[in-house]
Amino acid sequence: MSAYIQNDLTKCVGCGLCQGSCASGAIALRDGKAVIDPDRCVLCRVCLDTCPVGALTLESDAQAERTADSRGIWVFAEMDNDGQPLPVGLELTAKAFALARKRESCPVTVLLFGPSATRQAQRFIHAGADRVIVSDAPVFREGLELPFADAVCACIRQDRPEAVLFGATPFGRSLAPRVAARLGCGLTADCTVLDIDPETGLLLQTRPAFGGNLMATITCPARRPQMATVRPGIFQTPESPLRETGEIEQLREIPAPGPVELLEKTLVEAGESIRDARVIVSAGRGIGAQKNMALVKKLAELLGASYGVSRPLVDMGWADYSHQIGQTGCSVAPDLLLCFGISGAIQHLAGIGGAKTIIAVNTDPDAPIFGAATYKIVGDAAAVLKALIEHLQQQ
């Protein structure tokens, strides 16, 4: 019972595309045909999509399991220290609402555990939930994984949803794998695109792979629920209620506290949060000198905007990590994003997918950032920054 990549030698034309696609170096060309070294192949299956003649196939004796009659899309919504739900929970509820509408009789349920959960439940109904399962129990106050895992698993076992979404926050990414392993389900990390097959309910989960140079669409064909953590800031929170009424249900069984104890909590002031900013001025290496950071901050101030940076500037110490935008920093979704000297590495682009209008300035006409931009300016970032500041100060 094992699996391997099979090359149909009658179809293989020896083009070598698969060899180039293999991150493990497992494919060699011998006598004009691709040969796969089973000791190197890790079955990532990237080569299957690159073969132009369809010679490569995955041979596997894996049997599809029958899926249970699971129904409904669930969202686990996390709360902060002040008993406020995190925005990502509302974003995912609205997304679940949109996905559920593609399916027949597919209700949206939100799990909301924490202090004042009951009081916050209506916000999730407005965001699209048919039902919110709440608990204000003290055991959820400290944000420790095990009681949450117990409660989430108990609810899932009882109602058998077809999909469960978590925000890809540090806590969500710690809790979700615990739940997935207990239920023996698949879990896709840090998705940035979600869709659903209206017929089968198969969730199409897309996420960056190989450091973001490739996107991979992942499904979970057999087991239910399908589970994913989804990056905050990707989907929008609805401005007006999607729904007026829904059920608010108390969690039936309050889990016991786990063996892990919280001894102390220190909150670090995040300062102005770029995550929620409407306007962001952001800078990359192309601004040239560190002194030009002052121009970036000045322009942000004049526009009433926040400022962000790409990773190299944080690495060089020009700005604090809390301002970093991108895959390893924060995802932003402003109405307007002004990018100065940002080349647009895919890791950076991964963090700006939610921006509505992007104006980008870069000296390189082929900079990838222009592919994401609404308006492009091929030119010197510092010069444009100075001209903008001058204009605004004259007004």
Binding site: P177, G186, F210, T357
Partner: protein, 258 residues
């Protein structure tokens, strides 16, 4: 104290670069390395061993060539290694990988398991919590400092979304560590010799009495159905002119948008 460290073999650059023309992976000839986050886990394990005594074991699931990295870990303070390598493990997602690792952990019964926060190639950060769940032990993610540890319990500081938390758990337990936790040591020459001499146990699915419906591709609920290069969609409107003219146009757009 018996401490296990899980390590993963990853490409030597933290990103796999694609040639934009041919759309194929650019290989720079360098060999694969231990996932950088795992080197912090290893260093932390060795520091705890130096404090309390005991042994550090390293484990990896991977292709046979991964043995080299386990020896490298032994040259930096681990006592012995185990490589879970079998075609039956290939194609595993995080659930099937953590299951295989859990079988080894059940044999060895470590008091403490340390993992890197995540692997730089997969970025899932799921193996640690899933492994802990398979073993029925608590886990703490994103640990940035070990404050105290004895045979019975460990107290750590962890990074949270809005600051830090100090958390205590009884042992056995699993921790995932962030990169600020320590500065990994370099191998010394005696260390390299020890690494070459270290026992690296090679284990197959049968050795671990694995349930083959739960390993490798067969045991993986998730499937990659499609890979593609991210699309560059929008056709950007180009603004031209002297900086002052461009500034003027930009401010018009700003007013229009806001």
């Amino acid at each position: 104290m018996k401490i296990a460290v899980c390590i993963k073999q990853v490409p030597s650059t933290n990103e796999v670069r694609l040639d934009p023309v041919t759309n194929t992976i650019v290989r720079d000839g360098r060999q694969s390395v231990i996932n950088p986050f795992d080197t912090y886990a290893l260093e932390q394990a060795v520091q705890i061993k130096e404090q309390l005594g005991g042994q550090v074991l390293v484990v990896s699931m991977g292709i046979p060539a991964t043995e080299r990295l386990l020896r490298d870990a032994c040259s930096r303070g681990a006592d012995r290694g185990a490589l879970l390598s079998d075609r039956a493990f290939a194609g595993a997602d995080t659930l099937a990988t953590s299951y295989a690792l859990s079988l080894w952990c059940r044999r060895e019964q470590p008091d403490l398991i340390l993992c890197g926060k995540m692997a730089v190639d997969g970025d899932t950060a799921q193996i640690g919590p899933e492994l802990a769940e398979h073993l029925g032990i608590p886990h703490i993610t994103d640990v940035c400092a070990v404050l105290s540890v004895d045979e019975k319990e460990i107290t750590v500081r962890k990074v949270t979304a809005d600051g830090f938390a100090v958390v205590r758990t009884p042992l056995p337990a699993l921790l995932t560590v962030v990169k600020d936790i320590n500065l990994p040591r370099m191998a010394t020459i005696p260390g390299v010799r020890a690494g070459q001499a270290a026992v690296i146990e090679l284990l197959t699915a049968d050795d671990l009495q694995a349930d083959r419906s739960r390993t490798g591709l067969t045991g993986s609920p998730t499937q990659v159905v499609r890979t593609f290069t991210p699309q560059r969609t929008a056709q950007a409107v180009e603004l031209t002119g002297e900086p002052a003219e461009i500034a003027h146009q930009i401010l018009d757009i700003v007013r229009e948008v806001l």
